[in-house]
Each structure stands twice: as C-alpha cells, then as structure tokens.
C-alpha cells in the first residue's frame, strides 16, 4: 500500500542524502520526494511517497526516527488530509485544437502559463488523479513534455469549533 509520509528534519548539510541513502540502503521504495524549508528556517520538511506492507512501513518509520537529524515522522495514511502535486504540461496545438484544449484547461481549473505558435504550457495543481485525468485528456493532442513535482500533504484542521 502507498503511504505519504512527512518527515521533519534539521536543516543541515547532507540530510537529504542521509534520508535517500536510508531508503536505497535498506531497499525501501521512494515514489516521490519533495523537500523545502518550513516556517522555522532550521527545519525542513520532506514529503515522501513510499509503499510496502505494514512491516516495511513500521521499519521505515522507525529507521527514519533513528536518524539523528530527524525530528518527527508523520504518516498521513488513514488521516484526513490534503495532497497536492503540481505539473507543467507542454502540449501541441493547432488552429483546430486550441479551443478544445482551452476548454479542458478551464474545466480542470488549470492555467496556460506559456504560449508559443505550436504549444501551450499548462500548469495544473491537484491530487494525483486530477493530474492524471488531465494528462489523459491532453494526450491525443500530443504532449511534448511533462514535469511533475513530488507530492506534498497537510492534515486537515478539525472542523468543530
């Protein structure tokens, strides 16, 4: 099963390779990884998408916690949370297809962020399914290039006052 894990780490030299080395050295999967500073500039957050059975996930969690630079590990699985990825899609356009592409972009609340005589570059954010749905619809027009970020996630705040 797939898990989205958030790892808070001290923002130090070599931390990324400690984490990625742990995953490769112990044969854990990394499907995506994104890293950025948090509000506290000494702390970074890594959001890792990984997979494995319960036993593997238990080890991933414990092994991450064992690293000296890791402050906190949080697995979003089973929690109410929001996940987002961002993708840039460069798609071929022709006089005939332009309007149709724009309407797809509109339906997905995506944006055209760059235009050339032959291509549109479309920016979309959303969860994985949304991005895949868009790319599937654009594929028949000819996708020249696609770049996706890793996934990021945040727990939802409790709804009651």
């Amino acid at each position: 099963m797939r898990h989205t894990i958030s790892v808070l780490v001290t923002n130090e030299f070599g931390v990324l390779s400690r984490i990625s080395g742990l995953f490769s050295g112990r044969g854990f999967n990394i499907e995506s990884l994104s890293v950025a500073e948090t509000l506290d500039p000494h702390v970074s957050r890594m959001t890792i998408v990984t997979s494995g059975d319960d036993k593997v996930l238990e080890q991933i969690n414990k092994q991450l916690n064992k690293l000296i630079n890791v402050i906190k590990v949080y697995d979003f699985t089973g929690e109410d949370h929001i996940e987002r990825e961002l993708a840039l899609v460069k798609v071929n356009i022709t006089a005939d297809s332009r309007a149709e592409i724009l309407s797809i972009v509109d339906i997905f609340r995506a944006k055209v962020v760059d235009v050339s005589p032959r291509t549109y570059t479309i920016e979309i954010t959303g969860d994985e399914e949304k991005i895949s749905a868009l790319t599937e619809l654009l594929r028949p027009f000819g996708i020249k290039e696609i770049v996706r970020t890793g996934r990021i996630a945040m727990a939802r705040s409790p709804k009651q006052k």
């Binding site: 780490v9 001290t10 030299f13 070599g14 390779s17 400690r18 080395g21 742990l22 050295g25 036993k55 238990e58 080890q59 414990k62 092994q63 916690n65 064992k66 000296i68 630079n69 890791v70 402050i71």
Partner: protein
Amino acid sequence: MTKKNGAVILLECLIKEGVDTVFGFPGGAVLPIYDALYDSPIKHILVRHEQGAVHMADGYARALGRPGVVIVTSGPGATNTVTGIATAYMDSIPMVVITGQVPTALIGNDAFQEADIVGITRPCTKHNYLVKDLKDLPRIIKESFYIATTGRPGPVLVDIPKDVLTAVMGELKYPDKITIESYQPNYKGHPGQIKKALQLILSAKRPVVYAGGGVVLSNAAQELTAFAEKLGIPTTTTLMGLGGFPGTHDLFMGMLGMHGTFCANMAVTNTDCLIAIGARFDDRVTGKIDEFAPYADIVHIDIDPTSISKNVSVDIPIVGDVKEVLKEMVKALPQAKALKEHRKGLSEWQAQINEWRTTHALSYNQEPNGKIKPQFVIEKLYELTKGNAIITTEVGQNQMWAAQFFKYDKPRSFLTSGGLGTMGFGFPAAIGAQIAFPKSTVAVIAGDGSLQMNIQELATAVQYKLPVKVVILNNMVLGMVRQWQELFFDKRYSHTCISVAPDFVKLADAYGAVGLRAKKPSEVEQVLKEGLAVKDRPVLMDFRIDQFEGVYPMVPAGQPLNKMLLV
C-alpha cells in the same frame, strides 16, 4: 587572551571527554593534530595500518566500556578506517573517529588525498560530521561522544578540514551538557509493558532467556543473573552476549544459533515464553525464521525500536535500557516464598533442559598421539588462565571454538566481530584490550588466515611492550569456508588452501616478539605455559591443528534450529 588553534582545541575537547588514549596514524591533513599531540598528556598509540587503529580502539572500547578514539589523515588514511568502522557499527560499539580533510576551499576539487569520507561512512556510522568552522568544533565533539555512547551505542566520525585545525580562537568553552532535540533515547521501560511481560513470564511453563550483546553494552550482567536466578529461567546467549551471563552458571545453556549448543537450540525451539534481552534476532541465531521459537510468546527488551519486530514479530515489546528494565522487573517480582514455589513449578522443564544438556554436549576427541585438536588448545588455555583472561577472536572456526570451549563468567571478557565477521579484527582488538587492561592476560584465538590480515600490528605490540598472547589455531586453510565447501559444495576446495604462509615462529622473531610452536598434543600445555609467562612483548603460539576438524553442531543456513548437524 591566548589564542589556540583548532588542533589544540580538539585535544582539549578530548581531554574534557576523559580521553587519555588515542589510536592513530599521521599524514598531511592531520599534521597540526600531531604537532599538538607532541606536548599533550594524551597517550597516542602509533599503529601500522589505519584499520588496525580502528580495531584497537574498538577492542579498547569493548573491554573498558568507554569509547575508543581514532585519529587518521584524509584520503587513504580515512578510507582505510571503513572496515573497522563498519565492524563497530554492526556490533554497536561506541567510538569516535577523527579524520583529517583537505582545506575547506579545496573540498570537492579532487584535491590531493581528498576522499568524501562523510559520504562513504554515512551508512556505517551512527552519525557523522564535517566541521566547517572552528567555532562549531567543541559542540560537535561534545555531540559525537554523546551520540556514540548513549542509546544504542555506535561509531561517530568527525571530518575536520586542515584549515579548521589551523584556524585560531580564544579560550575553549566546552559545553557541560548537551541535548539534541531530535535524539532522545528512551531508557525507562513502559511500566504497563513491564507488568504485562512479568505476568506472561510468571505464567510460562517452559520459559527461556535469550540474551544478547545489549546486556553487555548496558552493563547489566548482574541484573540479568539476578533476574534469571530468582525466576529459575534457563538462559542462552548469542555470540555477542557471551559473558553477559556467567558461563559456568547452572542455568546457562551455552550459545544458541548456527553453532549453538544442542541444548540451547532445543530449548528455544520448545519454549512457550522467549524473553529476548538486548538481542536482535540475527539470521545466524534464528535459522529459518518461520520456525524460530514456534510455540513461544515473545517478550523483547531493546533500546532500539528498529530491532523490535524487525525479523520476528514480538508479543510484548519493551523499549528501554536492559539494566533499567531488569531492575524494574526484579523489583516487581513476588515474595521469595512465592518465587521458590514458582521455581519448583519449572522443575520438569529444568529436567528436560538437563537431559538436552547431557545428550549432545559439546565434544571432541583428542587422541594423545594424534593431531592437535583446536578445542583441546582452548580448553587448556581456559584451564591455565582459570578463565581469568580477556579473549578476543578472529573470524571463522577459531571464533566458534572460542565461543564454545572457553567459559566466560564476566562481561567484556569475550570480544569478537559478530555482525560484520571481520577477519583481521581479533589481533588489533586484543592490543586495544591490553592497553585498556595492562595487567590482565589478553589472548587472541586466531586462525592463520585472519591473523595475516592485520599481522603488521605485531610491530605496534612490540613497540608498546604489550604481552598479547596470539593463539594461532593453524590449520593452513580458510577453515570455515573450507567447512562449507566440504558440506555444501561437494568437497571442491576452491581457493581455501593457504599453506603458503610465513613461518610464524620466525616471523615473531623478525618482529622482536616471541615465537613458539606445538605440533603434538603433548606440547600444547608447555607452549601455553611459556607463552603466558611472557610479560614484556607479544607471543605468537603456532598450534598446528587437525586440518579437518569441523565446528559442530551446525544448523545449515536456512534450516530451523532443531535441524542440527551433530558431530
């Protein structure tokens, strides 16, 4: 205010940590440190190969229970330490390794003698550092010792560029205390879990204690003995746990695992309650994992959560320090009278254990006029030292015989490379142990193959007048590998014959050590006596043993523990 350079500051930090001995080898990048050592009270042991330095520091740490410290230069000096560091890492040995590095401005430029040692050792250190600024050095040294020695111990490497060593600063302000937000080992076991565990243990009909290196690391041998005695629980240890429970104790069943005793392996297979204490369910111990302790509920005490339910799923985990947890458990035990009743209730199990103990006891057959049996040499060594010795081992058959035929009553008296199984460990480790305990008898039980992997350290032992006893079980083969070829590769002895070897007696002489040889069983005692009497230099004792002696019992890899090949 007087200014001091980074090298002087470093040594002052080490002194603040209570370091009085370091093991090392100089070179360009660490010249400032060596210059500072010239008038430092710290004793520096000059080795002949950096791997030797690390194993010495390791042996020193294992024997003494304090971290070993190593200083080496950049590039090749640093890379030569890697096997030693990995050895210490696998066995959770506290150690601080200081490597020189090229000046900060040259890092990443393929500068002369540059190696990315922080990158190389990331997976085999508990933590490591590159010091980029002298002002960070005291904190980093403080953290290094703290990390190396607390929680599950391990090696820490500190890489210091040359310009940091030559930079100057004012008086050293060494932090007294340190806390690291993201590193807070847990020592106290959870009271609820301890209670649950005790209930289970007290209700068990066939309990077994399986104790490991964690007992030794936690200095909890006494607590373990008290625990097992009060409850009357038969006890086995791993290779790393030997000495953590008295080897001559009535409750002791010997080592378990691939080369464990019949008794220990049968007991673990049949127990209904396995109490794992500071042990990590290594594959050499469990054999076929699905059939390990199949009838048991398992309690596991370990300070490292990653050790728990990693290989075998555990019913009652207790994360904490062995010593602390056992103290709590012993405190919570019922009254003496009730305990006596409880022990009586285990008498049937005890009788079964005793039967296993005697039916297939460890044995060998020494013909008076036959070839020397290695087990005989070890038993004689035990007899002559009355067990009063620190024994290190190399790796292979020698190591297993040393585990089986010498009895270790005290913790830290048996030092061996268990996890990595590093040939070349035993001799330098013995040197380190001898430095820690100058008055004790320190002997390495060695194979002729392994010994040659760090034989150059003979010069170190001679230089410092260390009377390390090198007991060579010389079978002229890579015996353990040869045994596997015999059993599993149709006796196709591919590249395991090493009969082209130095004459160890002459070699000892060439180095200024003492060399002795025994070719017949009748010479064994005399050679050992003579060797043990030497007080001012190392002794190589070349015992020409039976080449075809094997280590038994043996559980073939991947088989369950009760499927042992017996002699």
